[in-house]
C-alpha cells in the first residue's frame, strides 16, 4: 500500500492535532504523505545526491572543456599579422561549430538527443554518466566564453614578460595567465555553477531520479502536488542561497590577496 487516506492518518495522530484548524491539519497530512510515510524523505535525499553528483561532474567537465576551447580560440586570435598554423585553424573551426550548435539549441533537446539517440543509457549509472556528459558539454560552451573573456582580460604585457624570461607558451599560460584569469572569472563561474544546478532538474526527461524526478514520483503516488513541489522549490532555493553565500566569501578572500 502506498497511500494513506486523511481519515486513516487522523486515527494515528496525537490528540493535540485534532484540536488544530482544518487547513493546518490538511497541510500536516500532506507533509506526512510527502516526507514521512514510507520514509519518503529518503527519496528526496537520494535524489539530492544524484543532483549533486550530476552538478559537480558536469561543472568539472564544463570547466575543463571550456578552458581548452578558450585557449584554442584565444591563441588562434592572437595571430594578428600572420595566419595561424593549419592545425590551430582546424581546431578553432571545430570549437566554433561546437559553440554555435550547443548555444543554439535548447538543453532539453540536447538531453533528448543524447539520451535517446546517441548514448541510449540503460542502467542508472549509465544514465548518470549520460547526464553528466550532456550537461558538461552544454556547460563547456558557456564556460568557454567566460574563460575567453577572462584570458583576454589579462594584459598582453604579462605574457610578453613571461615569454621574454624564456617560459614556453604553455608555461606562460599555466603559471602567469590562467591563475590571474581564474581570479577574474570566479564570479561568472559561480553563476554558471548555479545555472547548472538548476538545469539538472531537466535530467528527469532521461529518467534520471534526481530530486525533481523524486518529487514528481511522490506526486504521482499521492495525487497531491502542493507540498512536494513547494518543498522542491525550497530545496533548490536553499542550496542556491548557500552557494551564493560561499561564493561571496571566496571572492572576498581573493580580493584581500589583491590588496
Amino acid at each position: 500500500m502506498n497511500f494513506v487516506t486523511f481519515e486513516m492518518w487522523l486515527e494515528g495522530v496525537p490528540d493535540w492535532i485534532l484540536a488544530l484548524p482544518d487547513w493546518l491539519q490538511n497541510f500536516m497530512y500532506q507533509f506526512y504523505q510527502t516526507f514521512i510515510f514510507e520514509q519518503r524523505y529518503m527519496l528526496f535525499l537520494n535524489g539530492l545526491k544524484i543532483t549533486a553528483i550530476v552538478t559537480v561532474g558536469a561543472l568539472a567537465m564544463g570547466i575543463v572543456l571550456g578552458l581548452i576551447v578558450a585557449i584554442i580560440r584565444t591563441s588562434n586570435d592572437s595571430f594578428v599579422s600572420r595566419k595561424p598554423p593549419f592545425i590551430l585553424r582546424i581546431f578553432n573551426a571545430i570549437c566554433k561549430i561546437y559553440l554555435t550548435v550547443i548555444r543554439g539549441t535548447p538543453m532539453m533537446v540536447q538531453l533528448l538527443i543524447m539520451g535517446f539517440v546517441i548514448m541510449v543509457p540503460k542502467t542508472e549509472t549509465e544514465i548518470i554518466v549520460c547526464a553528466i556528459v550532456t550537461l558538461g558539454i552544454n556547460s563547456g560552451a558557456y564556460v568557454a566564453e567566460i574563460a575567453r573573456s577572462g584570458l583576454m582580460s589579462i594584459d598582453a604585457g604579462q605574457s610578453e614578460a613571461a615569454r621574454s624570461l624564456g617560459l614556453s607558451y604553455f608555461k606562460t599560460m599555466w603559471y602567469v595567465v590562467i591563475p590571474q584569469a581564474i581570479k577574474n572569472i570566479l564570479p561568472a563561474l559561480g553563476n554558471e555553477m548555479i545555472t547548472l544546478l538548476k538545469d539538472t532538474s531537466l535530467v528527469s526527461v532521461i529518467a534520471l531520479r534526481d530530486v525533481t524526478k523524486q518529487a514528481q514520483n511522490i506526486v504521482s503516488k499521492t495525487y497531491q502536488a502542493y507540498v512536494p513541489y513547494i518543498s522542491l522549490a525550497a530545496i533548490y532555493l536553499a542550496i542556491v542561497m548557500l552557494l551564493t553565500w560561499l561564493l561571496s566569501l571566496l571572492e572576498r578572500r581573493l580580493r584581500k590577496s589583491d590588496r
Binding site: 604579462q158 610578453e160 614578460a161 624570461l165 624564456g166 603559471y175 602567469v176 590577496s257
Partner: protein, 246 residues
C-alpha cells in the same frame, strides 16, 4: 682592449604590420659590453626594433643572429635564446599574483630547473643589488613605480642574460623615481652588461651609452658615439629631433 665579440648581428631587418612598413631594413652589429641607446621620434619603430630582437615581434624580412645563431630560422627554439635576453618594459609587467621573490624565481625554477633554495638565494642577492632586499615578500601592488621597475630589472638579471633590452624603462615613472632606476642601469653599464636601451632620457644616453642610434621612419638614420650624435649631428632630421628634446 681585446677584440670585441659580436653578440647580436642584424641584417636587413624588416617588419610590416599589414600594409604599414614599420622597419625598413636595419643593419647593425652589437658587441659584448656595448650600451646601445636608441633614440628617435615617436612612431619611428624603436619599440618594434627592440621587440624583434627577442622575437616578441616576428620580422617580415631579414635576419637576426644572436650569439652566432640565426634566431629568425623557424627551426630554432626561441625559448632557449630568450633566456639569454632579458627584457625590461615601460609598464614593468610584474606578475601581480606573485610576490617579488615569486616573480624573480619563476623562470629560474621552471625553465632552468634551478633548485628553489638556490634560486631564492640568488634572487635575494640581486634584490640587495637594486636596493630592495627588504621587499622580497611584498606583492607588486605594494610597491612604487620605481621599486617595481627595479624588481623587473632584478627579475631579468636572475636568468644571467647576455644582453638586457630596455623599452623606455623610465617613461611610466613619476619624475622623482626616474633617478633610482637610471642609477641601477648605470651600475649595470659599469659592470659591462650589454644593453640596448630605448629611451627619451638624453642625459642617460650621453652619459652612459657608448653608441647612440637615431631611428627615423623605420631606419637607422644616424649612428655614432654620444659625443658625435649630440655634439655634431649630421642629418637635418636628427638636428630637428634634438632641438625638440634637448
Amino acid at each position: 682592449m681585446t677584440d670585441k665579440q659580436v653578440l647580436i648581428k642584424v641584417e636587413g631587418l624588416q617588419k610590416d604590420f599589414g600594409e604599414k612598413k614599420v622597419l625598413q631594413g636595419i643593419d647593425i652589429e652589437i658587441d659584448q659590453g656595448d650600451v646601445v641607446v636608441v633614440i628617435g621620434p615617436s612612431g619611428s619603430g624603436k619599440s618594434t626594433f627592440l621587440r624583434t630582437l627577442n622575437l616578441l615581434e616576428v620580422p617580415t624580412g631579414g635576419r637576426i643572429f644572436f650569439e652566432g645563431v640565426d634566431i629568425t630560422d623557424k627551426t630554432v627554439d626561441i625559448n632557449l635564446h630568450r633566456r639569454k635576453m632579458g627584457m625590461v618594459f615601460q609598464q614593468f609587467n610584474l606578475f601581480p599574483h606573485m610576490t617579488v621573490l615569486g616573480n624573480m624565481t619563476l623562470s629560474p625554477i621552471k625553465v632552468l630547473k634551478m633548485p628553489k633554495a638556490e634560486a631564492e638565494k640568488k634572487a635575494l642577492s640581486l634584490l640587495a643589488r637594486v636596493g630592495l632586499a627588504d621587499r622580497a615578500e611584498s606583492y607588486p601592488g605594494q610597491l612604487s613605480g620605481g621599486q617595481k621597475q627595479r624588481v623587473a630589472i632584478a627579475r631579468a638579471l636572475c636568468m644571467d642574460p647576455d644582453v638586457l633590452l630596455f623599452d623606455e624603462p623610465t617613461s611610466a615613472l613619476d619624475p622623482e623615481m626616474v633617478g633610482e632606476v637610471l642609477d641601477v642601469m648605470k651600475q649595470l653599464a659599469a659592470n659591462h652588461t650589454t644593453m640596448v636601451v630605448v629611451t627619451h632620457e638624453m642625459g642617460f644616453a650621453r652619459e652612459v651609452g657608448n653608441r647612440v642610434l637615431f631611428m627615423d621612419e623605420g631606419k637607422i638614420a644616424e649612428e655614432g658615439a654620444p659625443t658625435d650624435i649630440f655634439g655634431n649631428p649630421q642629418s637635418d632630421r636628427l638636428k630637428e629631433f634634438l632641438s625638440k628634446v634637448l
